[in-house]
């Protein structure tokens, strides 16, 4: 038995959460140090998983299996494939940078980062992170569900306690209810699949690799695909169930916004792919037009709504809806190009949007406003943040040389094969995205510093800079060397194509 790296990754944040809770509440910096140490450890392990994944072999690797409840066929069954390995890395990165930018500055004039009860903050954040890792590596449907729910409820507390005072209660409750509704609707579908499998094959198992061969009838697949897929896709921000997402982003504290947009929304898309498309392929084929319509609307509508926002966080929140729409669009094509693009886009968007929210949070902490018309001249004050935001913007627009391009291009190729009209309409979003990103950069970073902000806005901390540089390296690196990720995602896609019965 090899080193059980996946279960260590999953349980490290949870153990860290417990340790942090045990610490006395006045040891604030020690608490942060423990958080940073465990986040770094998780990041290193996820890097190790990513780079030692053998692309030539493909399939599920680092597999661990422990029987958990044999009577019902529940096991702790971990493994990653080409689809989930990048997402594990993404979670590690966002967790690491999230801790960095939450460290903040104790100076009462600045008050950046998390200064109110950091102990509880990091404990809840890490519980969330553990749940996210668990979903990405679980090959057992019950456990996937278990971790999925663990990833949902800490959000409520994180937003309600540390969020933006104006909307936090409303947004936190809205988000939790949306996600809970989605997940329990999927649960019913999952249970139906579980018992149908038992009826068909006599096997009681939540093992997804077994369930792939359960021989679900076409009628069952068509009937239950939508509840299962959409139930999970709610967390992926699919239109018309995206409403909770921008509100949640805006109300959440910076690190939680990063987690939320960077990782949690991927969780929804990933679970929708893993459970919806891979276990109910016939249903996916039947309903792909509907998913494509929803996704197409999300792409254009999200971009347009982002364009008219004056609050930076709302702008990024809706741009996330638009970009996650691209992921869903890629999934709905059910072909090689689209799925590959969706896989890469999940990673690329996760890193990009984490960066956006990090920079926005840094600006808000110091200027105490996120309104685009009230800001200006940030480039002179915090050049690092400015450069980071510009790089993120280029990724967002899909510029060649950045990770956004290698993600979006295959998606459009895939969509074109399926339905060229959707590709044409969806490509409008690229123009709108370019427009709002550039307007935002010009106003916030290059225009004159408004009178009100003179004097009291300072530069970001060293840790903030480390976070920005980490995220930028990933985006540029992936843009220049697509071979770092694309072949890996393709091995995962091959498996999906096989399940879809295509060659």
């Amino acid at each position: 038995m090899n080193f059980p790296v996946l279960s260590v990754i999953t349980f490290i944040p949870m153990v860290a959460a417990l340790i942090i809770l045990m610490m006395p509440s006045h040891r604030r910096n020690e608490t942060r140090a423990v958080a940073l140490a465990s986040a770094t450890f998780a990041l290193l392990l996820s890097l190790w998983v990513y780079f030692s994944y053998d692309q030539t072999v493909g399939g599920y690797q680092f597999v661990e299996k422990y029987n958990w409840l044999p009577a019902l066929g529940i096991s702790l069954y971990f493994g990653v494939d080409g689809m989930s390995a990048p997402l594990v890395l993404l979670t590690g990165v966002v967790m690491f940078t999230g801790v960095l930018i939450s460290w903040g500055d104790e100076d009462p004039h600045v008050k950046a980062g998390i200064q109110d009860r950091p102990r509880e903050f990091f404990a809840f954040l890490f519980l969330l992170a553990g749940g996210v890792f668990g979903v990405f590596v679980s090959l057992d449907l019950f456990m996937l569900f278990f971790f999925y729910e663990i990833a949902v409820f800490p959000m409520y507390l994180l937003i309600a306690i540390w969020g933006w005072v104006v909307t936090r209660e409303y947004a936190a409750m809205k988000l939790t209810l949306y996600l809970f509704v989605g997940s329990v609707v999927s649960l019913v579908g999952v249970l139906v699949m579980y018992w149908t499998q038992y009826k068909n094959t006599g096997v009681l198992s939540f093992d997804m690799l077994v369930m792939e061969n359960a021989g679900f009838s076409q009628a069952l697949q068509i009937a239950w695909f939508l509840p299962v897929f959409l139930g999970f896709a709610v967390l992926g921000g699919i239109w018309p169930f995206h409403n909770w997402s921008p509100d949640g982003h805006v109300a959440a504290p910076t690190a939680v916004s990063m987690f939320h947009a960077g990782v949690l929304m991927k969780l929804g898309a990933f679970a929708a792919l893993r459970v919806g498309i891979m276990l109910l392929p016939e249903g996916a084929k039947y309903w792909s037009w509907l998913i494509m319509t929803f996704a197409g609307v999300a792409v254009v509508y999200g971009a347009y709504i982002a364009f008219v926002q004056t609050d930076m966080k709302y702008m990024i929140g809706f741009s996330s809806v638009s970009h996650m729409g691209l992921v869903m669009l890629g999934l709905s094509t059910l072909n090689r190009e689209g799925l590959t693009g969706a896989g890469v886009q999940m990673f690329s968007h996760g890193v990009m949007t984490a960066l956006f929210f990090a920079v926005t949070g840094m600006i808000y902490d110091r200027a105490h406003t996120r309104m685009i018309p009230e800001l200006g001249g940030m480039m002179k004050i915090m050049p690092f943040a400015g450069i980071g935001f510009i790089i993120g913007g280029l990724v967002s627009m899909g510029m060649p040389g950045f990770s956004g391009f290698i993600a979006e291009f295959p998606i459009f190729m895939g969509v074109w094969q399926k339905q060229w009209l959707v590709a044409v309409i969806a490509s409008i979003s690229i123009v709108i995205t370019a427009a709002y990103i550039m307007i935002n950069i010009r106003k916030v970073f290059f225009a004159d510093l408004p009178e009100k902000l003179h004097g009291h806005v300072g530069d970001i901390t060293v840790l903030d800079k480390v976070a920005i540089v980490t995220l930028c390296i990933l985006m540029v690196g992936l843009g220049l060397f697509p071979s770092l990720m694309v072949p890996m995602v393709q091995t995962g896609v091959e498996n999906i194509i096989r399940l879809l019965g295509g060659a």
């Binding site: 409840l69 509880e120 949902v152 409820f153 409520y156 209660e169 019913v188 249970l191």
Partner: protein, 482 residues
């Protein structure tokens, strides 16, 4: 015939009785301020009784003892252990409640009621069952009205007594009809009588409805739930906790045994009736919970809703159904005892129990707030706490039996539940005490509370993560029904 099995089948009851007598003898010799030590004695004694029963009194093949009065099987045994655990926790929670903690008779009443519950779980005969139910109820009436100076408590005791007497009369009438039709009161022989056709479906339906009135009162399903909020609010908080957990579970133990053994699937319309009752119970319980401003009333209505969820497993009428009910009850007992324990610990110091008063609790005592979070998230059905797994199992049993609509009602209700449970946590974590600094108003925990709450919280997490052994025990218990 008195054999060792005969003795072993009532070993826990004998031990409880010995403990009660011991307290009865020792307590008068203690000075007033020492009397709370009866709590340590009760809890310690119950735990010892659990250990002794586990070591020597484990049932083998199901047998009937005492001339068909008592069934010695895993179903009864597992429930007995649960009740005794709940009793031990309740005794510890009694200790620092000034109104009841220093009165030895409170512990005696608790043990007497526990004795009744243990017998409820093993009764194989309707006469025995009725006696057991009354033995359980009468001490609980007294305990609910224990605080004589408190009008609400007196009202609670009296209301509970009236409702209890009325519904048990209905049930007794049902039992007498059963005897009239079938000629036997033995639960295990009833089923033969029914299959022999001595009881028509219509008559059986009526009889079952009468019995359901009595049991429905015990487990507080709609429309027999009206007593619950007033009694839970008025009764001393640890007593409410005991009522909503052990007493409810005892009702379910009887319900499961009666419906799985004596009246298995005799008519489809009967299962449908139960399914509709379950749906109504969940929905009404949850909708009424939404409007509560008092934490004890909130927990009371939510416990009505939880009876509805557990009923899904009964409706399924399958082995997994029975297992999931038992598992649900185990998880629920731990969770709700924790919830009431936290409320008790809080209002003992502050003297108030409105939801608003919990503002700023997370700053006044972070650990108490965390335990409350664990309890409420478990009630809401969130992992890694017991409530999540329990709900999934119950729903799985429902889907297996083809009751997808009932499961949908269940999930809609869980969503309502998430809303109001999180709403309470908002007060605990988000809101501040008005015009006060929380640092100056800590909520200290005394030792009995700290121990009880820590054990319960650990249990809630264990049952939600390492669920295989719990499932194994529930399954062993359910297996004896088939």
């Amino acid at each position: 015939m008195f054999t060792s099995t005969t003795f072993l089948s009532i070993l826990p009851e004998v031990l409880i009785l010995v403990l009660a007598v011991l307290i009865f003898i020792v307590e008068p010799f203690w000075k007033a301020e020492q009397r709370r030590n009866a709590g340590w004695l009760t809890a310690g004694g119950l735990l010892a009784a659990m250990v002794i029963s586990l070591l020597f009194g484990q049932p083998g093949e199901p047998t009937t003892t005492f001339g068909g009065m008592i069934r010695f099987d895993w179903l009864g045994f597992f429930f007995k252990l649960l009740f005794m655990f709940a009793g031990a926790a309740t005794a510890l929670l009694f200790m620092d409640n000034e109104k009841i903690g220093q009165r030895g008779e409170a512990y005696l009443l608790l043990l007497a009621s526990l004795l009744g519950m243990d017998l409820m779980a093993v009764s194989a005969d309707l006469v025995m069952l009725y006696l057991a139910i009354e033995t359980t109820s009468i001490p609980l009436y007294v305990l609910s009205g224990f605080m004589l100076a408190d009008k609400k408590s007196t009202e609670a005791g009296f209301k509970y007594l009236l409702f209890g007497a009325l519904t048990s009369a209905f049930m007794l009438y049902g039992f007498s009809l059963v005897f009239g039709f079938a000629g036997t009161t033995n639960i295990y022989r009833l089923v033969e009588m029914f299959t022999a056709g001595s009881l028509s479906v219509g008559a059986a339906f009526g009889v079952l409805a009468l019995i359901l009135v009595g049991l429905g009162f015990k487990v507080s399903i709609v429309p027999f739930h009206f007593w619950a909020p007033d009694v839970y609010e008025g009764a001393p908080t640890p007593v409410s906790g005991f009522l909503s957990t052990a007493s409810k579970a005892a009702g379910f133990a009887v319900l499961v045994r009666l419906f799985f053994v004596a009246f298995p699937e005799f008519a489809a319309s009967w299962t449908l009736t139960l399914a509709i009752l379950s749906a109504i119970t969940m929905t009404v319980g949850n909708l009424l919970t939404l409007q509560q401003t008092n934490i004890k009333r909130l927990l009371a209505y939510s416990s009505v809703a939880h009876a509805g969820y557990a009923m899904i497993g009964v409706v399924a009428l399958s082995q997994l159904g029975a297992t999931s009910v038992i598992f649900y009850l185990a998880a629920y007992i731990l969770t709700n005892l924790l919830a009431f324990g936290v409320v008790m610990a809080f209002s003992r110091v502050t003297g108030v129990d409105e939801i608003m008063d919990f503002s700023g609790l997370s700053r006044r005592n972070p650990w108490l707030a965390l335990m409350m979070l664990a309890a409420f998230l478990s009630l809401a059905g969130m992992p890694p706490f017991g409530g999540f797994v329990a709900k999934v199992f119950v729903f799985a049993a429902g889907v297996q039996a083809g009751y997808v609509w009932l499961v949908f009602v269940g999930i809609v209700n869980s969503i309502i539940g998430v809303y109001y449970y999180l709403n309470v946590m908002k007060f605990v974590y988000l809101y501040r005490m008005p015009n006060e600094d929380e640092e100056n108003h800590p909520v200290p925990l005394t030792r009995p509370y700290a121990i009880t709450l820590a054990v319960l919280a650990l249990g809630v997490i264990l049952i939600g993560t390492v669920f295989a052994p719990w499932f194994g025990w529930s399954d062993a218990a359910a297996l004896t029904l088939f």
